[in-house]
Amino acid sequence: MSMDLPEGMKLIDENGKRLDGRNADELRPIRIEAGVLRRADGSAYVEMGKNKILAAVYGPRECHPRHLQDPTRAIVQCHYNMLSFSVDDRKRPGPDRRSVEISKIVGEALEYSIFLEQFPRTSIDVYIAVLQANAGTRCAGLTAASVAVADAGIPMRDLIPACAAGKVADTIVLDLNKEEDNFGDADLPLAYIPRTGEVLLLQMDGHLTQAEFNRAIELAKGGCSQIYAVQQDALRRKYSIAAGENGGKEEEARGNVA
């Protein structure tokens, strides 16, 4: 949000198209695959525009460190991690403050979605690895993590889709990409369960009037609904492939939402 727009760059052109050709209310292409890792109990891979994100889930398993154990339910420990080469300037490996904050709010959203009371004293460990980043990684990461939890067979209330809306060149748009995030006016990530209308993650940076806020929320809700369908589809494919004993080809199993 903090950078000055480079000379000559137009975030929205005269036809209302964005830098990558999208309309204001359009998501970037999204692809989700469930069950991509062998070692983890559950896993998922998400490509959303130029974001490439892996999520893995281990658990419910013995809780480490012990003092975090809750005798009444499982805890969720979420670790969001940007790989060093996922951004333009190399990031030092290991968690920075931004990662810790994202891990916390993504973990809280996941907590709500899981029937934690069924697994007292255990930990459900969620690892999100951002292989390539292009704005919106916390939402894509939560989207992936939720599919990975389902892939691990952990009983859930529902899947959690997430995406951002924001304000760019005085226009409220859906799903900001990197340039829009850098040079835009506001960003509003949302995680929301379409079936129940529950908001599990909500942040806002920048400057929005209350009317603009309402419009942004509407766009983000629409985005979540689309992503929710892709999440369900990924799991269905995984299970049908499993049922058909690898009869389906992976290429066919890919879905796009334009």
Binding site: R97, V100, E101, A109, E111, V199, H207
Partner: protein, 257 residues
């Protein structure tokens, strides 16, 4: 908020019963802040400072400045660094050592409240583009914790910034001058307990709440930053109600700093 002991279930029952009768355990209305007292300029070694009580919650904020290098991607802007320290003096569960996720979330929310609202004219803190800019440290320390550090920290930080003098003379950069400020964002936090929303929660209320929404608004009631926390949910109706309560309560605070 993460561990639920049987005790807190009892507490929760008691608090929720009261709320159902329209009451809070300390007698406030749902949208009412606790008493606020702010002592500005309390720390002479700081460029700006504020010691603030919000009910029994107390924080102290000091601003320090120095001359340093700008970031490569903002060569003509000063550098802002915000840090909240949850020192064990303030609460029996705060620990020494590297900052907890709670402290980091707090730091980042306070930082965004200041940064994204563009409260500070960072361009006016450039001395020589690409070479020298003013670096500004906003350090918040919790001294006594009874809930709602989000608002106590944010508001005290804003108050401290408002009495900050840039120490130009000490660094051989001309005469001291007031830190160039623009808007005054006010942060206000609502929590959800059962189906009720209350502003400025005490620690007891925080412990039994399921979700938290912090909203920073400016003089016009525009939104400048927002952060939902906790593992519970809000409906969109509740989000809108929280925003309204925040704007209202923010107005009450705005007069005091």
């Amino acid at each position: 908020m993460s561990q639920r002991s049987p005790l807190s279930e009892v507490k929760k029952g008691h608090i929720t019963t009261l709320l159902a009768k329209g009451k809070r355990s300390d007698g406030r209305s749902f949208g009412e802040l606790r008493p606020v007292s702010i002592i500005e300029g309390a720390i002479e070694t700081a460029e700006g400072s504020a010691r603030m009580k919000l009910g029994n919650t107390e924080v102290v904020v000091g601003i320090k400045m120095a001359v340093g290098e700008p970031f490569a991607d903002t060569p003509n802007k000063g550098v802002l660094t915000t840090n909240v320290e949850l020192i064990p003096m303030a609460f029996e569960e705060f620990e020494s050592g590297p900052p907890s996720p709670m402290a980091i979330e707090l730091s980042r929310v306070v930082d965004r409240g200041i940064r994204e609202s563009q409260m500070i004219d960072l361009e006016a803190l450039c001395i020589t583009p690409e070479k020298e800019v003013w670096v500004l440290y906003v350090d918040v320390y919790a001294l006594d914790y009874d809930g709602n550090l989000f608002d106590a920290s944010s508001i005290a930080a804003v108050a401290a910034l408002r009495n900050t003098m840039v120490p130009a003379k000490r660094f051989g950069k001309g005469e001291d001058f007031h830190l160039p400020l623009r808007s005054t964002p006010i942060s206000c936090t609502t929590v959800k307990i059962g189906d009720y929303l209350v502003v400025d929660p005490t620690l007891e209320e925080e412990e039994v709440s399921s979700a938290r929404l912090t909203v920073a608004t400016d003089e016009n009631g525009d939104l400048r930053a927002m952060q939902k926390g906790g593992s519970g949910f809000f409906t969109f109706e509740e989000v809108k109600k929280s925003i309204e309560m925040s704007v209202e309560a923010g107005r009450a605070i705005r007069g005091k700093i």
